[in-house]
Each structure stands twice: as structure tokens, then as C-alpha cells.
Amino acid sequence: MKKFTYTEKKDTRSGFGAGLLDIGKKNPNVVALCADLTGSLKMDAFEKEFPERFIQCGIAEANMIGVAAGLTIGGKIPFTGTFANFSTGRVYDQIRQSVAYSNKNVKICASHAGLTLGEDGATHQILEDIGLMKMLPGMTVICPCDYNQTKAATIALEKHVGPAYLRFGRPAVPNFTDAATPFEIGKAQILTEGKDVSIFATGHLVWKAIEACEILEAKGISCELINIHTIKPLDEKAILASVRKTKCVVTAEEHQRNGGLGDSIAQLLSKEFPVPIEMVAVNDSFGESGTPSELMTKYGIDTPNVVSAVEKVLMRK
């Protein structure tokens, strides 16, 4: 398989901050809103460079979403920033009525998603946000895998028209994708080709899946690994092409099994090309405090879980 290396670990939220600054310089219509988490969302550089285009909303997320919807008049492109929990569950009705149904060009950017925010614990570790957002008609849902890709996804959103949800996280993770690769919304990224099993991973689980592929290769198993950075719209063509070749699937994500990426893929395959599937995801549970790595192990979304899911699905093939 193709070899993946990285020179440093970086947090995906910093990729968002860098991308936001970049499009802020390019397009005067880009505005940013934050609910008193400027530092956590890495929006400080944008605030410093463009104070007139940065709107501090205070810890009042419902109002922030409404203000963003209102700001879209005259072609402004609002990017809201707060934790994933407060970006989705807390303001779901605001997003549903004033953004999605009204088809406003609001970009909802959410950090600290999933278990890997670590010590802050269950109240903050939202594992339901992808499901909530993908259910909304017309909503685009993006979950990039590393710093470079989060930056590229943020930049891509400037040209994208329509409501979108961008999910990223807190910890430093391997920054392995090529900074020069442009980000195409809705286009799956084939990381390595293989013939025995298709692995579809998203977000922080992409690197875990790379580690799993290396372990499996040593055992003589050839994995095809595809990064599904856009969960909606799903790249059905790429998924089906891969599965028609390998005839079995493992999905991997930092999210509840219910409503996540695995759910979307299972729905597609049950209709178009039914094959055995194993899902690496959190199994109907809330998180707790701990280091990101402790929690990923405890809740079954670490590298060994991807390895055993592949071994299991191959037995069912």
C-alpha cells in the first residue's frame, strides 16, 4: 500500500482558523461570528485582521445563528464558530427554520467534536452532531481528517453556496494530507487502493484507519481506504465502485453508530449493493473524562478496533 508520513501533529481547529483568515483576505463578504470562544476556535487571527467583519455574539448561540442568517443579505457569507455541541444540538431549531428551511448561506463551523476533546467530558463530547445535521434537507456536512484538509475545506466553503456544517476537533493529530490538494466538496478521497475490503473513514478516524491498513497489510490483507470527508452529499459513485470490487465494508468514525457515516453507507448499500458491513463507532453511549487516546480505546474507536472490524467482516464475506 501507499506509505503515509507526517512531519508534525496539528489540531484541525487551527486549520479552520488558518482557512478562515485566508478567505477573509480574498473575499470581503466573509464575516465571522463567535460565541465567546475565539481562542478555542482559533478565530483570533481573523478577529485581529478584520475587526469590522468579526461579530462577537457572547455566550448566546441561538441568537448567533439567527444573526448569521440575517447577515446573509447582500451576499455576505457568515461563518459561525463555537463548540460542536453548541453549534448543533443547542440551536437545532434555529438552524432548521432560519438557516436550512430558509436556505441561507450560513457556514456552521464546529470545534471540539467527539470524544477527542478529552478531559472536558460527556456534556461537551457531542457524538450526535453529524446525524442531526445530515437529516436537515439541503445541509452539506463536512468532517475533514487533518489540519491541511480542514484548512482546505474552510477555503472551499467560501465558494460553496448554501447551508453547510463543518466539523473538526481539539487535539493535535498527524497532519499527513498534501497542503496543495484542493478540497472538492462531495468527492471522496481514495487514500490507498486494495482488493479485500473497503474502509470508509471520516475525521480523526482516517489516520487510525491508515494505521490499521498497515497492520493488516503485514497480515496479508489488502485494504482500500477511502476518506469520506463529505458525509452529505455522499459520494455514492466512489463508494459503490469500491464495494463492487471488494465486496465487504468497514466504516470508521468518531460519532454514534446511529446517524453517523456508517449509517449513511449502510443505507446506500442496502439499496444498491448489499454486502457485509462492520461499523467502528460509539455504540449508543455518552463519553466521560480522559485523554483522547484513553477514550478512543475505551469506546472502541481506536486502531485495533478497525483491525478487528476488518478481520470480522472478512469472515462474513
Binding site: I55, A60, A62, G66, V67, A69, L71, D93, S98
Partner: protein, 269 residues
């Protein structure tokens, strides 16, 4: 204007009554309580053009109490934003006139229904106008009951912080909400002092007196420092004596006999 605001309000009331009766719909009480406010806004205040409803320089009017949409639809149709015949389709399958305020109808700025949404959006519009040095004003009409929603109070904090002197909120204070008196469900009193303490310019009026309504908008527009709120004391079901101040008429739809009786009263006003 070809007709005075008072005659206009009577036309709105009759259209509201007909729509609610024919669709066997709800929320006539809250539509009638805000009718005079709408009539003055749409005949005297709002800078809008029915022939060019998306003109960038237009004033924005957002109806936050989306359930009272019949009043807004009637005002828009009477102003020529769309054909009066469209009102006959109200609430029917396939109609652009859904039974909660819908942006598919020309002249409607925002879909509303779930409460407490429009004031935050109005803040965003007003902020965009200020940043772009646009002179238009943003108006947002709220019910008293929906001031229970915390999202409104987030916006009420936000507007003075961002010096939104181009934002005018109007509260249709008819003292009745879905299933009880505001005082009994979740009391808002003293509403004027609440807004004052949040640093708003507060104007309190009789929401059925057209001169007072007109003057209030003048005062609100003249305040160059703060966002303004017009607390309009109103009567739920205003204009039809057996509906006035009756909780029943939040949800009830009139029978044929009640419809005829109500129409007769409105025809003689």
C-alpha cells in the same frame, strides 16, 4: 396611498376572517390584535415596492409571531405583492401561503412559526445594513407570549451592544397567549422596564390608535443611539366584539353563523 390606514386595517381584518373561516384555521385572535400595526406599517411606514419586492434598499419587516400569518398575507396581497385571489389558497395543499408565515410568498422576508427566531435574524440584517452603510430600517413584530423564549432575550442583549439604532421591534402586547393570560403563564410585567434596563429606547402606545402608532415609528426612527421597541397595548381579536379579549379565539375557527356575524360587524366599521 389610495386608502387610509384605517380603511386598510378594515380590509385586512375582513381578509383575515375569510381566510381563517374558509380554511377552518386557528390564530385569528392574534392576527386581529396586530392588524392596526400592520396597516400603519404597510400604508405609511415601510419603504417597499410590490413591483420589486427584493429591492436591496427596501425596509425589512419580519413577522416573528408566524402563526398570525393571515394578517401579513392579507396586507401583502392588498398592497399588490401578489394576487388577492392567492388568499383563497391559504393553508391548502400546494399553496405558497402555508399556515405559518412562509418565505415563498413575495414580500415575506423570513419563514417563521417556531417562536423566538425573527428578532435574532432582524439583528443580523440590521447589523449588515450598518456595516454596509445602508439607510434602510429593520422591523420585527413579536407576540407577547413568544417573549417567553430565551432566544429573544439573547437578541435583546445583543442589539444595544452592537448599537443597532436601525432596528425597531414591536410587541403586540395583547396579554393573552396560547392557553392562558400572559400574567398567569409567565408574567412579562413590567415589560417597559425590562427593555429599558437592557438599554433599549422604549415607546409605549395604544396599538389600535393609528395616530399613536404612526408617531411611535417616527420617534423610533429618530432615536439615533439605541434600538427601539414599541410596546403596543392591544386587544386580542380586535374588531369583532365576541372575539375580543377571549382566550378561546387563539385556536378556534368561526362557524358559518359566527363568520357572518363577524363580517357584518367589520362591514359596518
Amino acid at each position: 396611498m389610495s386608502i387610509s390606514s384605517i380603511a386598510f386595517s378594515n380590509e385586512i381584518r375582513k381578509a383575515v376572517l375569510k381566510m381563517v373561516f374558509e380554511a377552518n384555521a386557528s390564530h385569528i385572535g392574534g392576527a386581529l390584535s396586530m392588524t392596526d400595526l400592520l396597516a400603519v406599517l404597510y400604508s405609511e411606514i415601510l419603504n417597499i415596492n410590490p413591483k420589486n419586492p427584493l429591492d436591496e434598499s427596501r425596509d425589512r419587516f419580519l413577522l416573528s409571531k408566524g402563526h398570525a400569518c393571515t394578517g401579513l398575507y392579507a396586507a401583502l396581497a392588498l398592497k399588490g405583492f401578489f394576487d388577492l385571489k392567492e388568499l383563497d389558497s391559504y393553508s391548502k395543499n400546494g399553496s405558497m401561503l402555508l399556515s405559518h408565515t412562509n418565505h415563498k410568498a413575495p414580500g415575506v422576508e423570513l419563514s417563521t412559526g417556531s417562536l423566538g427566531h425573527a428578532l435574532p435574524v432582524a439583528c443580523g440584517i440590521a447589523l449588515a445594513a450598518k456595516r454596509k452603510n445602508k439607510a434602510f430600517k429593520t422591523y420585527c413584530l413579536l407576540s407577547d407570549g413568544e417573549l417567553d423564549e430565551g432566544s429573544n432575550w439573547e437578541a435583546i442583549l445583543f442589539a444595544p451592544q452592537h448599537r443597532l439604532n436601525n432596528l425597531i421591534a414591536i410587541v403586540d402586547y395583547n396579554k393573552i397567549q396560547s392557553f392562558g393570560l400572559v400574567k398567569e403563564v409567565l408574567d412579562l410585567d413590567p415589560l417597559n422596564r425590562k427593555f429599558e434596563s437592557f438599554n433599549w429606547n422604549v415607546i409605549e402606545i395604544d396599538g389600535h390608535n393609528h395616530d399613536q402608532i404612526f408617531e411611535a415609528f417616527g420617534k423610533a426612527k429618530a432615536n439615533l443611539i439605541k434600538p427601539s421597541v414599541i410596546i403596543a397595548h392591544t386587544v386580542k381579536g380586535k374588531g369583532v366584539d365576541f372575539m375580543e379579549n377571549k382566550l378561546l379565539w387563539h385556536y378556534k375557527s368561526p362557524s358559518l353563523e359566527q363568520y357572518r356575524q363577524a363580517l357584518e360587524q367589520l362591514n359596518s366599521q
